[in-house]
Symmetry: C2
Subunit: 753 residues, 2 copies
């Protein structure tokens, strides 16, 4: 037993023996323990505080017990450090992943519980890695643009180092200087060099991959107190020139403008509102390295003031993420996203705890932590546990919110309208880097946290090896990213920007109106000028709270103006089973392919009908709730009932339905529809309540370049009028308009009564 360790052991005994005069002992300990380690997620003072509270902080104690049990079982089972071989989902991949998570946990347990077995476990495993690493070739799987050594991509190698740095930090004082030298020389330094110097195409860019790379290098730099490495992490590798036209596996440019390093990654993808341009699924993933490193920097380099950086963008990022979840806590599906990812993910547990601890103890975050039922086993987690214990928690109330996109907040936005059980997500952002979808002005609708009008999400089964190694499937490109896979307008069966990433990345939609102060009518409106040549799209999403209806309902006005004659399709991806339509359709004996390209090849056309110019209605049921879609049509508009799943040789797609409203030979056109959640069904009582639409008639009563007006008549013959000013969104402007001989005057960009 080394000297420093002996000291620590005695101190451990001291604490146990002197519970009644903890305070004195703490003070003494503070000076006795090295001020240097731990310093990332734990601090010497934090460790003392944790030890003194353990047993009296329920949420922390529960997590501690759970983690201890989990690690104990694994220590008993034994571990492996296999030669890397597999893609994600495969044995070697999952084993190395398990190892870094275990090491991080064991390190923390060592600090909190002072049991040597945890330190010994980490040490032993680190030396196994140190033995293997120097002779390890590049990973044999070739799919990545930046192959790792332990894993098939540098991204996962970086994950490994981010976690392992924490473990190393926790047992730093447990190791002899010789041991530390060996580990740093054989493992950590070459590891950091490999993911940075040997892979500049991975390290030197603005991308979530690089964030992980930067943070991995930065974390180990903080532990090793290596300023040169830290500079590399913060500002990038200065001496490498990358080809600006290089693309990665996802089709994204590697680095078009030469920005790089941790701060650049903090500048670029986060808007001033904390929205991360790739969308919440990747933001969730990216937040962890940002925040975990920020925590270490706050502890080790407080002069950098990273938490306050860019008007506290990291804290805003956490709030933005929470606001981008549905009532069940699942993230909205913006760009590539797997359904079911939620604020219960461990990254969000860290994020919430760190944001609470370093961000001024916002008590709303405590209510999220309570739902999560878990905290991080570190200084931040202690702060949260104490906050909850002291009864400081207040509810995190999710309201309607618009989050701007772009580094300067001027590249469109995502608008979330919330009213009662409904949540509507309206996307008018920038492209979203390589994970972006071609879905300008698309929307999705949730009812009580269930997706009712869906965004397909991504064509990928993350970590499920038998589906393409758990990686992106080709249908992600051919289907999930295409415009027709979304609830927005497709012109001439071609995706926005012709599905061209470089073109799509140059543009963003324009926010037009976001007005949510009035509970009766909330409006989000946006325009898109670049998705199609010489064509302008203008969509307005409204949630109306009418006392004649049991629930709020959605009004959707999609206006398209073009210099050319086109075919316009607006699909409506309802989820559930058709109950009834009010329109005639003919169903063919067997489905037909809807098209040949741009995602159309993945849709079966099951049935179609021609509109007579009356409103069409689609009535359906999902999760025992009744819904109706009502749309204004023109004579000979086509209704196409289609289903996903064509040209899908490996059954990679979900066979879900859509209703497409098609206008042919149109220049300017207007698509107006409503979505109602009317009532419920109980299979237990077999009682069906309010199964039908409450809308008798939906009509466009005025439509010019300047104004569009929609009249809604309920089954009780009550009329409501919604008018939007199409070119003047000044909140103060006054408008005068005569519709059907009646005069209307109002101020502001829209009128409703």
């Amino acid at each position: 037993m080394k000297h420093s360790n002996v000291v620590r052991f005695f101190i451990g005994l001291l604490i146990v023996g002197l519970v009644s005069c903890k305070k004195d002992v703490s003070t003494k300990l503070n000076s006795a323990i090295s001020s240097q380690h731990p310093s990332l997620v734990l601090t010497p003072q934090g460790v003392i505080n944790i030890r003194s509270h353990v047993g009296s902080i329920p949420i922390f104690d529960q997590t501690l017990a759970k983690v201890q049990k989990e690690v104990d079982v694994e220590i008993d089972h034994g571990y492996a450090v296999p030669i890397p071989k597999d893609y994600s989902g495969g044995y070697t991949h999952e084993t190395h992943k398990k190892n870094y998570i275990l090491m991080q946990k064991a390190g923390v347990l060592y600090q909190i519980l002072e049991k040597e077995k945890y330190a010994a476990f980490v040490k032993e495993m680190l030396f196994e890695y140190a033995k293997m690493y120097p002779t390890l070739p590049i990973h044999p799987k070739t799919r990545s643009y930046a192959r790792g050594k332990l894993f098939w991509q540098c991204l996962n190698d970086s994950n490994w180092l981010v976690y392992t740095s924490q473990a190393y930090d926790c047992i730093y004082d447990y190791l002899s200087e010789d041991e530390r030298n060996t580990l740093e020389k054989e493992l950590f330094k070459p590891f950091a060099d490999f993911i940075s110097m040997d892979n500049p195409q991975f390290f030197n860019r603005v991308h979530n991959h690089s964030t992980w790379g930067n943070v991995a290098v930065g974390m180990i730099a903080l532990v090793m107190e290596d300023d040169q490495l830290l500079a590399r992490a913060l500002y990038g590798l200065k001496d490498f020139d990358l080809d600006k036209n290089l693309k990665d596996n996802d089709g994204g440019f590697i680095n078009k403008d030469g920005k790089m390093g941790f701060f650049a990654n903090l500048d670029e993808p986060f808007s001033p509102d904390g929205y991360y341009t790739e969308g919440p699924y990747y933001q969730r993933y990216a937040m962890y390295p940002f925040l975990i490193f920020a925590q270490g920097l706050q502890n080790k380099k407080p002069e950098l003031q990273v938490v306050a950086y860019k008007d506290s963008v990291l804290l805003k990022g956490v709030t933005a993420l929470l606001n981008l979840t549905d009532q069940k806590g699942n993230f909205f599906l913006l760009n590539d996203s797997q359904k079911g990812m939620s604020f219960y993910n461990t990254s969000l547990i860290s994020a919430v705890d760190i944001a609470y601890h370093f961000g001024g103890n916002n008590p709303e975050l405590l209510s999220i932590a309570e739902k999560q039922g878990e905290v991080t086993l570190d200084d931040a987690g202690l702060a949260v546990a104490l906050g909850i214990k002291e009864g400081k928690s207040i509810p995190f109330v999710k309201k309607s919110v618009e989050l701007t996109d772009g580094a300067n907040g001027d590249e469109g936005a995502v608008g979330v309208l919330r009213s009662g059980p409904l949540e509507l997500v309206f996307k008018y952002t920038a492209h979203g880097l390589s994970h972006g979808h071609y879905d300008k002005l698309s929307y999705a609708l949730f009812d009580q946290g269930d997706e009712v009008v869906q965004d397909y999400g991504m064509a990928r089964f993350v970590n499920i090896e038998q589906k393409g190694g758990g990686n992106y499937l080709k249908e992600n490109t051919t289907w999930a990213k295409q415009t027709i896979a979304h609830n927005t307008l497709v012109s001439n069966e071609i995706s926005h920007f012709n599905g061209d990433y470089s073109k799509g990345s140059q543009h963003h939609s324009e926010a037009y109106i976001f007005s949510v102060e009035n509970e009766v009518v909330q409006v989000a409106s946006a325009k898109e000028f670049n998705a199609y040549p010489e064509t302008v799209l203008h969509r307005t999403m409204v949630i109306i709270n009418d006392e004649d209806f049991d629930n709020p309902y959605v009004l959707d006005i999609m206006r398209v103006a073009s210099d050319t004659t086109n075919q316009y399709d607006v699909p409506f991806y309802y989820l559930g089973q058709v109950l009834q339509t009010n329109f005639e359709y003919s169903k063919s004996e067997v489905p037909q392919l809807l098209g040949n390209a741009n995602g159309y090849q993945h849709l079966y056309k099951e049935a179609s009908g021609l509109a007579t110019g009356e409103n069409i209605k689609l009535n359906w049921i999902l999760h025992n709730r009744f819904y109706t879609y009502t749309a204004v049509t023109s004579t000979n508009d086509q209704m196409i009932m289609a289903r996903i799943g064509a040209t899908d040789p490996e059954f990679n797609l979900r066979h879900e339905p859509t209703l497409i409203l098609r206008k042919r030979n149109a220049k300017d056109a207007l698509f107006v529809s409503t979505v109602e959640s009317t009532g419920t069904y109980s299979p237990v009582s077999e009682l069906a309540i309010n199964t039908y639409s409450n809308i008798k008639h939906l009509e466009v009563v005025f439509n010019t370049r300047d104004y569009t007006a929609i009249n809604i008549v309920t089954t009780n013959d009550k009329s409501s009028l919604f008018v939007i000013s199409n070119h003047d969104n000044d909140k103060e402007a006054t408008h005068k308009l005569t519709i059907n001989d009646k005069n209307y005057e109002w101020s502001g960009s829209y009128y409703f009564e």
Copy 2:
């Protein structure tokens, strides 16, 4: 205020005033209150007991508060007694239904709370009905073989009378003799005559419809103390000769053998084990009238000993029903059944409470009542509430169970195998009257209460008007009842018994083995001799609990022997998304119709492949759990990947998948497969655990007329052998067999090691 009412009012005050000496008051009340009314679900003594406990019996108090609130709201809203016009789901139907439920509740509230407003409400509404009824024509909707007056079918009229009798009973003493005379003469007597004498085709048969008819007449007879009417209820209408070949709407014979009346309905469809031949969905519906009437008879005519009748078959019926639910309390889908119906249905609340109160206070029933969270507001509900309060509840443990079918228990059975999270329902019953499906030897599998290998259920959306008025859809006959819609063998694309109801009704399958004592291996085996000419089906379902597996798994051995050459299809209705198959298949550009008739017209063929003689595997995911189906094949067996939804012009069917294993030009054949539930996926942690099959090889190592032996090799190279004796199911018989030079000796009908 009438005299009797004044007395009751004073007594009410007396109780309120004398809480401290309740017992004395109770004794006095007992003699003061009429011994005649109430007498159906409440008794005078019961009412006294309830009043004395109210406020101290949580589950009863909660129900009472809920019902009171509900009735108060409705009394405030006002009510309507409209001229009948609609099918179920429509306004007049739902209104009359609501009325009878409200009257029953208001009657009970009047007895318990002694508030006149409840009695007045019932009285007023009854007089509205009495005013309307005498001139009411037959219901205008013509779909039923027995049209009612208030509703489109006598069945619903009977429902009305069963509930309304209870309401009348509760306010009997509140009414003057004149008022009672008016109601009985104008409403109740003609009502009872209409559903019996005017509709013998409805009243005089053995069928759940008639049960309701008999009970409706019987209930009102008990209240009115009309012995003649009671005899009609108990033994049927004696003087009517029905054409024995008449059929009802569902295609069932009205009355082939002349049996009728309540006791006949108790004799015939219930087996000695309490299984009701139509299946649990209809048993749930039928139990309510049986038990509610039994309760009234116990109170008014205890000498009939109806609860003890046929070895307490009604009590056994309740236990059987509970045993036919999955881990979530939903009924297994046997014959026509709507998914989601469960023991939370009010019929089951009544059934459980009555069975507890009149059936010797079985404490296991209390745990079900606790889950239901509600009791009936009557003597039985009080007994349950007191039992729970006194801590008598013990868990109702559902075990593997075989329930015989047929009045004498000799017409096949349903076998339920339970092991860990798995529940397997194996059907080898009689046809199940008019709600029966052509699905001999079919099975379904549940995992943690989720259906994994499904029975389609019925093609009907009960009470959802926009789907065929909420009634059976034509696809129920053309699809849901057909053999190909089930997990069993189809010969030559023709349904069992050629889909002929009269033929199907003459036969039943034969139970062969049911052995569940050994937790390691549970076996249910049955044979079917009549579904196809000169063809014998023998299926053996096994659940094996092997320590090498995280969960038990299913072994399925379907043996067919025929004198002729046939094509055999065995579909496998997995629910969820395909992850991987180990066999080659080609997917056609657009799906094709699988066939033209017998349900095949409703299946799209999406892909197909030819077996090479190796095991085939289908790996899929459902609710974040991984499953694998493994089947033994012969060279050129065909695998057909199909999907429900073809020839379905109104989108009445759910588009769910199936895998069909097809053997062509076969006489005798053997289908052997396993189903494993291997592991789980978390979309939150994105961790996939045990995604693959643990079975390396599945092989038929012996197959003769006398024995079939299957060898199962795990991925750990552990072999297990299962041998079944095909013709000797004697539990004591000893067997000797040599397989691959190894000798096996055992006693009993099967061997496993």
